[in-house]
């Protein structure tokens, strides 16, 4: 763990107290934005809940790709594992929402363990291909096991009992949305804690230079595998939330398209920052909602152009752009003083 402390930028630029204050502000901002969404778009709460579920998926990709440096195009396998586990449990009589979320998290973590074990054997392109193959395999398996998953019709008829026995999941999705928002904040806060822990620092180190980390005496594989399991749990929570709020689990929750879209959201927001993951998701899905209602193919053209633009002009995504701008202004201030 000495390793992490020597990473200069991270360890020196912000003292612990400053970081706590910043995180508190960040979480408050998320809460404020979430509540603002609740008051401003009371008719679109289902969409907003979906945004939160996908945001959890994007956060989970950020953990392995942004912090661990393992590119994946198959994260929806973990999201879908959580969704189907929660869905199947719910159909079979476990209807307590928090238990369902827990089941989703465990299923996601187990799937993450499986996926990590396979993916971490390879590097570079082979790794990417493995991730795609795994999500396709999950997709076909979910399609085939229609006795449990409902196949291509989807798993319908999830009757979730009221939260804490008091708040029923109503038609407008108010409970689901607030429940999701609370979940997101809890998960986000724990992830902030995890990524700034020595373990999180070690992951960043591995991303920068795995050879050097190995030379320093740390084992790369178990660390990354642990990150995969955590990321699987987060994705699984997202999947379970999606299942609870829509009361349907479809095959699209284990699809390559969802994985690819989630990765695009992450890149748009900025790899390697948790805030970037949230911002990217909200902006992407907001635009998608508006533009694809007009013409889905215009939407594809737009996403494509956006991706090319991000790669060429803002490799760090929106948050990277923000950092660069604030860096420039800070430097100017320093020059003046």
């Amino acid at each position: 763990m000495q390793v992490a402390a020597q990473t200069p930028e991270i360890a020196t630029s912000s003292s612990a107290g400053y970081r706590w204050a910043r995180d508190a502000v960040g979480v408050t901002l998320i809460l404020a934005a979430g509540l603002a969404g609740y008051w401003l778009f009371p008719d679109n709460l289902a969409l907003l809940t979906r945004v939160i579920a996908v945001a959890l998926l994007v956060l989970s990709i950020d953990l392995v790709t942004g912090y661990g440096g393992v590119a994946t195009l198959g994260q929806a396998a973990l999201f879908g594992a959580g969704a189907y586990a929660a869905g199947i449990a719910c159909v079979n009589g476990v209807t307590e929402p928090l238990t369902l979320i827990l089941i989703g998290a465990v299923a996601g973590a187990v799937a993450g363990l499986f996926m990590g074990t396979i993916m971490l054997r390879a590097h570079g392109l082979a790794q990417l291909v493995l991730s795609i193959a795994i999500v396709q395999l999950f997709h076909e398996a979910a399609n085939k096991a229609s006795a449990y998953t409902g196949g291509s019709d989807g798993l319908a008829g999830l009757m979730v009992s009221p939260l804490f026995g008091a708040f029923e999941f109503d038609l407008w999705g108010r409970t689901a949305y607030l429940f999701g928002l609370a979940l997101l904040i809890v998960v986000f806060a724990s992830l902030r804690f995890i990524v700034s822990s020595p373990f999180g620092m070690l992951c960043r180190g591995i991303k920068e230079d795995p050879v050097r980390i190995r030379a320093m005496g740390a084992f790369v594989f178990p660390v990354l595998l642990k990150m995969f399991v955590i990321s699987g749990a987060v994705a699984g929570i997202g999947g379970a939330l999606a299942a609870i709020s829509t009361q349907v689990v479809g095959l699209d929750s284990v699809s390559f398209e969802l994985s690819a879209n989630a990765l695009v959201m992450l890149v748009l927001g900025g790899l390697g920052t948790l805030y970037g993951a949230l911002v990217g998701t909200v902006i992407f899905m907001g635009f998608e909602h508006v533009v694809s209602a007009i013409n889905p193919f215009h939407w594809m053209t737009m996403v494509g152009a956006l991706l090319i633009g991000v790669v060429l002009a803002a490799p760090g995504g929106l948050s990277g752009l923000l950092d660069r701008m604030s860096g420039i202004s800070r430097r100017r201030k320093e020059k003046r003083t």
Partner: protein, 287 residues
Amino acid sequence: MQTALSIAIDAFAYGMALFIICIGLSLTMGLMRVVNLAHGAFAMIAGYIASYAARDLGLGYAVAIFLAIIGTIVISIPLERLLYRRIYGSPELTQVLMTIGITFCVIGITNYFFGPTLKTIPLPGSLTQPVDVGFRTIAGHRLFVVACGLVVAGGLWFLIERTSFGIKLRATVDNAAMADALGVRTQVVYAISFAIAIGLAALGGVVGAEFLPIEPYYALRYMVTFLVVVSVGGAGSILGAVVACLLLGAVDTTGRYLMPEFGNFFFYAAVIAIVCVFPRGFFGRAQ
């Protein structure tokens, strides 16, 4: 026995069609180190051009193929100069994102101009008739695809291993800076190999349209298949691409014939097994 034979013939022809498309991708990935996920998009563009030429303009099949290849290469040149040239040598994730972006754009734009329907490329009479090969008859088109595949494989082998251009190409791949210093114009070599790769994608897209029908989501639907084939075969290896295409074509076709309800399950299971055992593909170069 009859079933086994017809499965074998279909699998072989399908594998060859895959090969013609994938070998171009294998070249860009192995020799130029660009993960070009937009490869299928170029095959799709070629399919649309061929369909337009053959069906709407009434030109012959050969002319349509020729036009499709030329047209696709012409479209790809500005893309190579403006976009691809910036991502040579970038990390994989950057290349993947950029080329997925290009794919999305191509899908959106194609659909805007041609609509969401399936496009057919009418075959000439000589290819639709069954051909008697002694012990049984085979659809002429299947034989044509197989012949195309063999010609492409032989031609590429000759180009890379036996010509001076091939020598320059291999030199550039091994050490671009040194090749540049020795007077090889690496930018030109890259541009030409990119054009060859795109031309092969175009040829494969048109010839293989019977197996992989041309529609707006073509580029996305088969993107994964192409990428998988190349990484199984080993990027940059012609022999590897042949073996991977034939093997995966056989797995896929057999699975579809015997257990259609499982879909692509066996295809991807085979891929995971192979990539785990051979992380660089069958004949990939060690890096």
